[in-house]
């Protein structure tokens, strides 16, 4: 029950943010694209809640609108990595012959710190929303492959999978109907964490000036622009950052909560309970 409530708060936050950002044009009191040279770098006020930037644009509106690309990149990367990682992980875990080839490639890809691999790819492809998505997907899907593969290896030996195999069920059917449903939970959990990490990575790349085109508002781009005004207008840097932290934290909490919900012996309260139970058994003898 508690874990449900714990999942609800970050989930509601993410939904609200999503709705707020796609409907921003309809409800924002001050348009984020209107420049006003008389209002440059103004501190937060009742008019401009988060203050204004160096062009006099409203920062609250910008922060809300910037969520679009950040969420888009994060979600797409999470989705693509999950799909690619699941396919490769299933193949590696199920077919012994493919295993060594796939895992060598995965190990090679994991030999790069993930931000570095993304940087290298962006260097090659050039910065754009699509390229960032490609670069980050490439950096993150090996993580899913590993998780899926080890889950498949566990599930594969369960009796009913063996039984299906001997009774002549075709491999694709076994993979899709017998194995996949059993390993969905770690995939969803990891996918949530990758969503969070992609938002951080996109922001970092944009901040470094090698990410999304500077003309597109993202939290990373806002922070990149704010950098030189840090002493003059600290609010310019603070608010977009807070939004990144809240969004990423919400996703991390959701991932943690989902893990607990899927795993009866998971962390937190339940783990303590299990530990207590173990002690009880140990000492009651």
């Amino acid at each position: 029950m508690l874990s449900r409530k714990r999942n609800l708060i970050p989930f509601v936050f993410l939904i609200l943010l999503f709705v707020a950002t796609i409907t921003a044009e309809w409800w924002l009191p001050v348009s984020p694209s209107v420049m006003d040279s008389g209002l440059r770098l103004m501190a937060p006020s009742s008019e401009n809640w988060f203050g204004t930037d160096h062009f006099g644009r409203d920062l609250f509106g910008q922060t809300i609108v910037a969520a679009r690309v950040s969420l888009l990149v994060g979600f797409t990367v999470a989705l693509l990595s999950t799909v690619l990682g699941t396919i490769t992980g299933l193949l590696a875990g199920y077919y012994k012959r493919l295993d060594s080839i796939i895992m060598r490639i995965i190990d090679g890809m994991l030999a790069f710190p993930s931000l570095l691999l993304a940087l290298a790819l962006v260097a090659a492809l050039g910065g754009s929303v699509t390229n960032i998505i490609i670069a980050l997907t490439f950096s993150f899907w090996p993580v899913i492959t590993r998780v899926v593969r080890s889950s498949v290896l566990q599930v594969k030996t369960i009796q009913y999978v063996e039984a299906a195999k001997t009774s002549g069920v075709k491999d694709p059917v076994i993979l899709a109907r017998y194995i996949l449903p059993n390993i969905l939970s770690p995939i969803i959990v990891q996918g949530t964490f990758i969503f969070a990490r992609s938002i951080l990575a996109e922001a970092a790349l944009s901040f470094l000036g090698v990410g999304v085109e500077p003309s597109i508002p993202t939290w990373g781009n806002m922070l990149q622009e704010s950098q030189i005004y840090i002493t003059l207008a600290p609010w310019f840097s603070i608010f977009p950052g807070i939004f990144i932290v809240m969004t990423v934290l919400a996703l991390n909490l959701l991932g943690d909560g989902l893990r607990d919900a899927f795993d009866p012996y998971a962390k937190g309260k339940k783990k303590a309970r299990k530990r207590l139970f173990k002690q009880k058994k140990q000492y009651a003898s």
């Binding site: 207590l276 002690q279 009880k280 140990q282 000492y283 009651a284 003898s285």
Partner: protein, 341 residues
């Protein structure tokens, strides 16, 4: 020397309170050996750990009773004073030698730690003492073995090391919690032999805890039979074995494999499960599994009553009633056994 009065040790679990030890009293003198016997789940391990105050708190707590060691109540001592007793005056040998030694520390370091904690010595003196101890417990080439790691030892050897650790400060009381359960039969005998020898040499009082009546018979002079956190029968070994006065003890004895009996005799295990300590049955705790249970047993919770000078049992059956009931069951068994052949 060690006196336990009406000790209660409860475990606070999320599902409720487990009365692991529920009003246990006994005492032990120097050089004496007491055996505590019972199935797993009878609370004997919690009892053993209580005597050292080694139960994790929480979840274990002690609502009542006292553990008097040389006049001091261990339940009221501060952690610092307890530490002076632990390993020094009262020491313990544990159930699982395979996991009871720290895998990343050398045997010598673990042994010397026990020595140096309570004795103001130099390292080389402690080293000397460690070699003596290892020799004492029968470890060959002790000087070299000090530098070995636990995984390089067999189970029996590790138990010897653990005994050496327990003996490091010449404790007055040695608690052995299922010391041979994890070992092979031949090694078992060696370890028990070792403990006896050490007792003779140092006059240590030993409390040996086991589910195995064979071990108890070999080691102890006095026996306490534990069931669901309570002592249900206590007395000298002979009284427990030959003048059994409690059906539970009798069932335990019947479940012993007998070397002198004919090979095809069935092993009789006690039917049913030990009671749920969170929600014990009404009346006598043993009645759901007791072959002699009457309607009366569901209502009355029998006290531990004296049968003779040192012998006491918690059962409402009188001696005569018990004898008669025993005979009834034994003849029935024999008939069944014959039919089986």
């Amino acid at each position: 020397m060690l006196e336990i009065n009406n000790l209660k040790a409860y475990i606070d679990t999320p599902d409720g309170i487990v009365k692991a030890v529920d009003g246990v009293s006994f005492s032990i003198k120097a050089g004496e050996t007491i055996g505590i016997v019972g199935e797993s789940g009878s609370g004997k391990s919690v009892l053993a750990h209580s005597l050292m105050q080694l139960n994790p708190k929480p979840p274990v707590f002690y609502p009542q009773g006292e553990i008097l060691f040389e006049g001091k109540n261990l339940l009221q001592l501060k952690e610092k004073e307890l530490r002076k007793i632990r390993g020094n005056e009262i020491a313990m040998v544990y159930q699982d030698p395979m996991s009871s030694l720290n895998p990343v520390l050398k045997i010598g370091d673990q042994l010397m730690e026990a020595i140096l904690t309570h004795n103001p010595m130099t390292k080389s003196e402690a080293r000397q003492r460690a070699i003596e101890l290892l020799t004492d417990v029968g470890i060959p080439d002790p000087k070299k073995r000090l530098n070995a790691y636990p995984h390089q030892f067999s189970g029996g050897m590790r138990q010897r090391v653990l005994i050496a650790i327990a003996l490091a400060c010449n404790p007055k009381v040695l608690i052995a919690d299922e010391p041979t359960t994890a070992l092979d039969v031949t090694i078992q005998a060696q370890i028990l032999e070792l403990m006896k020898r050490i007792q003779e040499k140092y006059g240590t009082a030993i409390i040996i805890i086991s589910h195995d009546l064979g071990v108890i018979a070999q080691m102890a002079e006095k026996v306490l039979v534990m069931y669901s956190g309570r002592i249900v029968e206590k007395g000298n070994v002979e009284e427990i074995f030959y003048q059994t006065a409690m059906p539970y003890t009798w069932s335990l004895l019947r479940s012993l494999p007998r070397i002198d009996s004919e090979a095809h005799e069935r092993l009789l295990s006690i039917e049913g499960q030990p009671p749920n300590l969170m929600n014990p049955p009404s009346g006598c705790n043993f009645h759901p599994r007791c072959p002699f249970a009457t309607e009366q047993c569901k209502l009355v919770d029998p006290e531990l009553t004296e049968r003779s000078a040192d012998h006491a049992a918690a059962c409402i059956l009188s001696e005569a009633e018990f004898e008669e009931a025993k005979k009834r069951i034994e003849t029935k068994d024999q008939e069944r056994g014959q039919g089986h052949d």
